[in-house]
Amino acid sequence: MTFTQLMFLLGSLAVVGPIVAHLLAKPRYRRIPFTMLRFLQAGQKESKSRRRFRDLLVLLLRCLIIVLIAMLFARPRLFVTRNIERSEHSYYLGLDNSLSMAYADSRGSYFDKMISLATDYINAADADGVFNICALGTGTWKKDLSRELAIYHIRSLKLSAKAADINEFLSALKAEELEKAGAVQTSVFVCSDFTPHAMEQFFTADSIVAGAVDIKTVVSPEPINNAAITAVNIGGSAGRITADVTVANYAQDAQVRQLAVTTPDKQLHSVEAKLEANQQKTVTVPLEIDGLASENEYLPLTFELSGDDGLGADDRFCLTISTPEQKSVNLLIADSGAGETFLPYVAIQQLSKMDSAGRLSVRQVNYDDLRNSDFDWANVMICSAINEKLGRLSTDIKDFVQAGGKVILFANEGLSERAVQNLWADGVLAAMPNKFLEGRQYLRAQSDDDPDVTAFDPRSLKSLHNYRVNSILFKAVFECQQHPESACLWRFRDGLGFLYCKRAGSGTAVFVNTSAADSLGSLTKSGASLAFFGYLISRGLQIQQTSFAPDQRILLPASEMERESADKRLWVEACDGSKVPAALSDSYLVLTDAAGVGWVRTLGKPIRYAGVNPEPGETDMRKPDPERIAALGERVFTVAAEQKAAGVQSLEEKEHKPLWRAFAWLLIGLLVFEPAVANRMKR
């Protein structure tokens, strides 16, 4: 037996009262002169022992009443493990509760239809079967359920903002298949709207053996008229900002929708979007936000399609933008501990002292000591060498760059091949160093042919040129293979690349083809090291945009007051309007579940926003081809006719029964019984 509210058990200590009263009580006797005492003596012993018994019994009853009252408030529950006989028939239900299932026509939503189908399936199933339910939108399982519990859980399912994760369901099925190895009859039920994203996962899955397979497609018999904003890319620079809004029309008919761009305070622009059937179109919207951008470090923009098309969650796209002048630089210098970043660190420290606006902050960390909080804090990262340790951090660096960070990697003799491969595979190595070249190289003067990537501030480049950097010799240079998506911004005189730059997500990956330890001394001697690093870490004039997918960690910049707060959990408003706690991690508030799509915003002022948008393609509501679905069912599931007939399996089922009623009746009985005992035994 357990208790839900354990604190109330402390009330049992009140039994001390009756016990103390019992011990201290002195009975008062009336003195009466009498004559026939000899007839009293025989009954006296009996009376005394009976009285003692009565007193003890009454005391016990009163103590028991007090304890029962305390236990009643503590809400007792009894865990009952009962052996139930179940047939060896396991049912696996994959129920799609992803965002696309929120689509609704005149008959109701896909989600409600799915609940109904799943409930019918369970009701028609073997009453003694064991049911396992996977919510495809969240990837969560509920296993070994009875029929009643399975129906209860199905009806408790909620829509998720995430895309369906079919792989999780199929992987678990595969694992169950291997474990049971045909000893148990299995039946699989999948219910989904089978968006292209979901179907794609089926086609890449391994084959699974099952006794019976039932695939139900939830699709509206009415024409689909859903359109969605799938992507927004902010282009231009300060003073000339545009938004390329990609709108997909999944409807079978053309439609005209109004596309509006708003900030929390006002509407910026509205443009008409004419969409052909099954067409994806990019609409360019000019944004007059100069004044607003200069006031707000992170300006929230909402792009929204007008009208009701059955699914409103994908008609809106939320992102924040920041202009270069407003963005502060949190620079993280990561090294292996051998001191190779000494010169960069000195140079950057000097730069930070010169930064009167106080926008440059520097932190130096060993690779081994790097934490998520460091990545959360920084927006520019300098890595002194490509070694094994850096290779292990490749995924973190990729996430960092994707979220809008800038990583600057220096080459070094003896770099790690594996690390290079990892960084290259994750798309954060702008050029792959191949052959190490002995000797020294001079930089070529910048020409008009060199690409203007606008990843760097051109003013800082001009400043660097004042130092005649093309007369500086650089050592430890590699022959490099340029990444197809990167640009070489600067070359050596013999044509080898010196500075490569690549866009990745919202951020930038920079590769400097020289050793930080060997070459920067020359820069320092020439006095150009400050200008060089000022150029490297500078923010381009490019507008930074930030938005998140539902399965990503949401980052909100923390205000100064929040950063100084002793409380490491601060409340924010999630997408569904609920107040949820966010963890304070250096200069960001981190939230793991945005509770939907839309805006996450801080409660404290100034209000900061983070936009959460559906996965691209998740709400592709084009009706799936039934033949294709049938084909994927046949491809993925193999029906094994030789699965043995359902036997009987003895299982343990645990349930907890609330006991408060029994305690309440017992208490009532004692409260009635106690005075009766006390009075009856007085006679």
Binding site: I32, P33, T35, L37, K48
Partner: protein, 298 residues
Amino acid sequence: MKQSRKYLDPVLLSKLANMNLVAKCAVEGFFSGLHPSPFHGFSVEYSDHRDYHPGDELKFLDWKMFGRSDRLYIKQFQQETNLTAYVLLDSSKSMSFSGGGQVSKLSYGSFLAAALSYLMLKQNDSTSLILFNEKITERLPPKSRRTHLNAILTTLEKNKASGRTNLTDVLHTVAETTNRRGLVILISDLLDDEADIHEGLAHLKYLNHDVLIFHTLDRMEMELEYEGLVQFEDMESSSAIRAFPQSMRDSYRQQVAEFVDDVEKTAGRSGIEYCLLNTSEPLDKALITYLAKRRRMP
């Protein structure tokens, strides 16, 4: 209760000014309420008649009585009724118990003794009064003059309960100090060793006395109708018992009943008349018992 019986009510008697009134009220009240049998023909002016038996001398027939009642009675001369009665009244401390009522056992016993003395002296029987506790405290020799009644009543008025009970020694003393056989009337609560009491009584019977016991008990002594926690303190000793009367009432009553029963059986075996008196009840029961006894005596 009949109007006349109220004069037998001990509570009423206790309100009377003196024992003379008590005796007179009790006796007159008793006789005025009587129906003819079994004491047919008796009156306050008791004339010593008895029923006619074949063989009696016809010259002693009371023809006036015959004319009145159509029944034959023989006149008895004073000398024939010269009975000596010894009234033994227990005056130990236990007799002062009243149980919360208005009349103590001693008062009740005194009323009875007074009434009996009144009755006997009217009848010209010699009456002796003996008061005792552990020993005889007061003794009036037997006399038949009606003026002796005053002495008896005065003695009864002045009597106070004191001392412990020692019935056995007193009975032996009475047995040894009486010259003439007579009627020994014992008014007591008999709170002494039963075997010793029986021994004493047997001594009296051995000397051919007629013995009549009036076992006087209070209602509370018999019923133990006390509530709550009580410390019972013995009236003659310093012992005390703490008890919860409700829980022991039944066993107590049973023991008292057994005690009374034992005494009655013991008395019966010895040919001793026994009468249990409840001090809350009128005196007529006691008087009837006496008269019935008296009647059976030669």
